[in-house]
Amino acid sequence: MKHTFVAYVEDLPGVLTRVASLFRRLNININSLTVGRSERPGLSRLTLVCEASAEAGDRIRASLFKLENVVDVDDIAQAPSVTRELALIKVAATPRNRAQIFDLVEVFRARIVDLTSESLMIEMTGVESKIEGLIEVLREDEGRILEICRSGKMTMRRGHHTSSVLKAMGAGSDERPLPEIDLADEHAAVEPD
């Protein structure tokens, strides 16, 4: 099954190697990995997606905790959460056939972020399936896609959720129950601005 781990790690040289090395040792391929600054100074937040057996989840989480630079790990599993990915797609487009792509971008609620006489760049944020959808449509014209750059997945639990670790580190502690969420919404092609 697919596992999604969200971890806070110290922002130091070599930390990513330690995390990646753990999966290498277990012979588990990392499908997606995004890292960036978090709300906490000195801590990066990463989202890691991998394929592993259902039972492996706890042990991977426990093994991640054993890394000294890992401060907190959340196994998102089936919990209500929002997952997004960013894609930059450069396509060949001349003034003659641009209009068609503009329509596509409109339908997929993407954006044009660069435009030249021979190409344009589309920025798209959304769930994986939506990005795949746009790419698929663009591929209908052979040779149109010049480059694709995808960020990998970023995941955040829905509702007010703070782990015991972050609480111990002084995060807000009034944990309210999770609001009822229609899980179908997860896959809806609706984007916030």
Binding site: R18, R59, A62, E68
Partner: protein, 588 residues
């Protein structure tokens, strides 16, 4: 070590913040952490540190190979419970440590290794004797540091000591660039103290779990306590004993658990697993409850997992959450420090009658006990089991025994009966040949008043025999028993059992070990018959200095009983009765 270390530091010479070189900071921090002995080998990239050593009250043992330094630090830690420290230079000095570091990692031993590295300006340029030792040791250390600034040395070293000892202990490597050693910074031991250890959310001992465990114990008819290395690491000897005695539950031990529960205790069954006695493994297979205390269900202990103790519920008390449900599914997992967990559990446990179950186990000993070598008179043959049994008898079981890896290690585990924790020093998880001689130097350094015996095979002994001169240079009284059968014995045994006696590359030519010892200025004796064992051991014990005994034992003896790899715990190869090479009633 915590407050103790801080007290020692405040008594140390550098109690007030003082400008020191990085090299001086290394030693001053070690002094602050209570270190009195280190094991190492100098070289270019660590020379500033060595240059500063004479100013500090730390004894340095010069090793003959850096692998020896890591094993000595490991043996020091295993024998004393303190952190062992190894020092090496960059490049080959650092890579030579790796086997020793991995040995400590697999057995959860607190070791701090300090390596020099090239100057930070040339890091990553393939400079002379440069290797990426933090990269190389990443999977075999609990954590490691690359320190390139003088002011970072003290905090990194103090954190290294904290990490090495906390939770499930393990080795930590601190790699310090030469310019960091040469630079100057204010040394403030107190200010370098690591912040409180991060909370571990997966440590989990709750009321419900404790109640469930107590209930399982209350309702069990055929329970067994599985006693592991975690008992001595946690200092839970009294609590495990209290649990066993109150409930009359028998105790089976892992190899690294030996000594954590007294061998002479009536509830002690002995070692479990691949070379455990049949009745011990049968008791586990027939148990309805296993109480695993600080052990990790290693494959050498469980045999084939699918058929391991299928009738038993399992209570797993363990400090490392990653060990829970790894090999064996726990019905109740109490994830925390063993001593603390047992202290919470014990008040919930009432006395129970274990007579029927203990009688069943005792009855199953029958045949195996009869064939046990120690119960048989001298047949004229010299068997390793005789040697080990006599060593135990003649030392009254009070020596620290440091073994190498192989057949002799298993015979030691079977026939030397350990009463005290930390009296057996052996490489369990990694199974590192060449471990014994250097680890014994570490053990003797840590506990000079204790009698220390090395038991090694002729193969493993030759892997690190160069450390004989370290023994001489340090003037250590270490007794060495080589169990010499002219083979890489355990491999030969596997070839005998599983490879149709194809003894490929296992017959072994060795030097005359007594002459080799003599060349080092160490006295020695060769022993060929059982009747000579007692006088030889006595001579070794009486000699003022180190002594080597070369026991020329039966060449094709095997360790029995044995679970073949991939077989269930109850499918053991038993002691044969009629093979003339194997001790049997025929030898009478």
């Amino acid at each position: 070590m915590g407050s103790n270390a801080d007290n020692q530091a405040s008594n140390a010479r550098h109690a007030t913040p003082t400008p020191l070189t990085g090299a001086e900071i290394v030693w001053a921090t070690l002094v602050g952490e209570g270190v009195t002995d280190v094991f190492g080998y100098p070289g270019g990239a660590i020379l500033p540190v060595y240059d500063a050593l004479r100013k500090f009250p730390i004894h340095h043992t010069l090793v003959r190979h850096e692998q020896g330094a890591a094993h000595m630090a490991d043996g020091y830690a295993r024998a004393s419970g303190k952190v062992g420290v190894a020092v090496a230079t960059s490049g080959p000095g650092a890579t030579n440590l790796v086997t020793g570091i991995a040995t400590a990692m697999l057995d959860s031993i607190p070791v701090v290794c300090i390596t020099g590295n090239v100057s930070s300006k040339v890091l990553g340029t393939d400079a002379f004797q440069e290797v990426d030792i933090t990269g190389i040791t990443l999977p075999v250390t609990k954590h490691n540091f690359l320190v390139s600034k003088t002011e970072d040395i003290a905090p990194a070293l103090r954190l290294a000591f904290q990490i090495a000892q906390s939770g499930r202990p393990g080795p930590v490597l601190v790699d310090i660039t030469k310019d960091a050693q040469q630079g100057t910074a204010i040394f403030d031991f107190a200010a370098a103290k690591p912040k409180a250890y991060r909370p571990h959310p997966m440590l989990h001992v709750d009321e419900a779990g404790l109640e469930k465990a107590a209930e399982l114990i209350r309702n069990s008819k055929q329970p067994v306590i599985l006693a592991g290395h975690g008992i001595s690491e946690s200092g839970a000897m009294d609590q495990v004993r209290a649990l066993a005695e109150r409930t009359q539950i028998p105790v089976a031990l892992t190899l690294l658990g030996l000594g954590a529960f007294p061998a002479s205790h009536p509830l002690n069954l002995g070692m479990m697993g691949m070379h455990g006695e049949v009745w011990v493994n049968d008791a586990i297979q027939n148990a309805d409850l296993l109480i695993a205390c600080g052990m990790r269900f290693d494959d050498r202990v469980t045999g084939k997992l699918a058929s391991y103790a299928t009738k038993a519920k399992k209570i797993h008390i363990e400090i490392d959450p990653a060990e829970i449900n790894k090999n064996v599914k726990a019905d109740v997992a109490l994830v925390g420090d063993l001593r603390e967990v047992l202290e919470e559990l014990l008040p919930r446990i009432a006395g129970r009658d274990g007579t029927a179950w203990l009688k069943t186990i005792a009855a199953s000993k029958g045949e195996s006990a009869v064939h046990d070598i120690k119960n048989l008179p001298d047949s004229g043959h010299l068997y390793a089991a005789h040697v080990v049994h006599d060593l135990w008898r003649l030392t009254a079981g009070e020596a620290i025994v440091v073994t190498d890896v192989g057949q002799h290690q298993m015979w030691e585990a079977q026939y030397f009966h350990h009463e005290e924790p930390r009296s057996l020093v052996t490489s369990g998880g990694l199974g590192t040949m060449g471990f014994a001689l250097p680890a014994a130097i570490g053990a003797k350094t840590a506990r000079p008043a204790k009698e220390v015996w090395v038991i090694a095979g002729d193969g493993g002994f030759q892997m690190t025999a160069a450390e004989l001169s370290t023994i001489v240079q340090e003037g250590l009284k270490i007794n060495i028993a080589i169990i010499n059968n002219g083979y890489l014995g355990m491999v030969r045994q596997w070839q005998e059992f599983f490879y149709e006696r194809n003894y490929e590359s296992t017959p072994l030519v060795s030097p005359d070990f007594v002459k080799l010892a003599d060349a080092h200025g160490i006295a020695g004796l060769a022993v060929k018959t059982r009747s000579e064992v007692e006088s030889a051991v006595t001579a070794a014990r009486k000699a003022p200095g180190a002594f080597l005994l070369n026991f020329m034992v039966e060449k094709e003896d095997s360790v029995y009983p044995m679970i073949p790899v991939g077989s269930a715990l109850h499918e053991m190869i038993r002691r044969p009765g009629k093979n003339p090479l194997i001790e049997s009633s025929k030898d009478n």
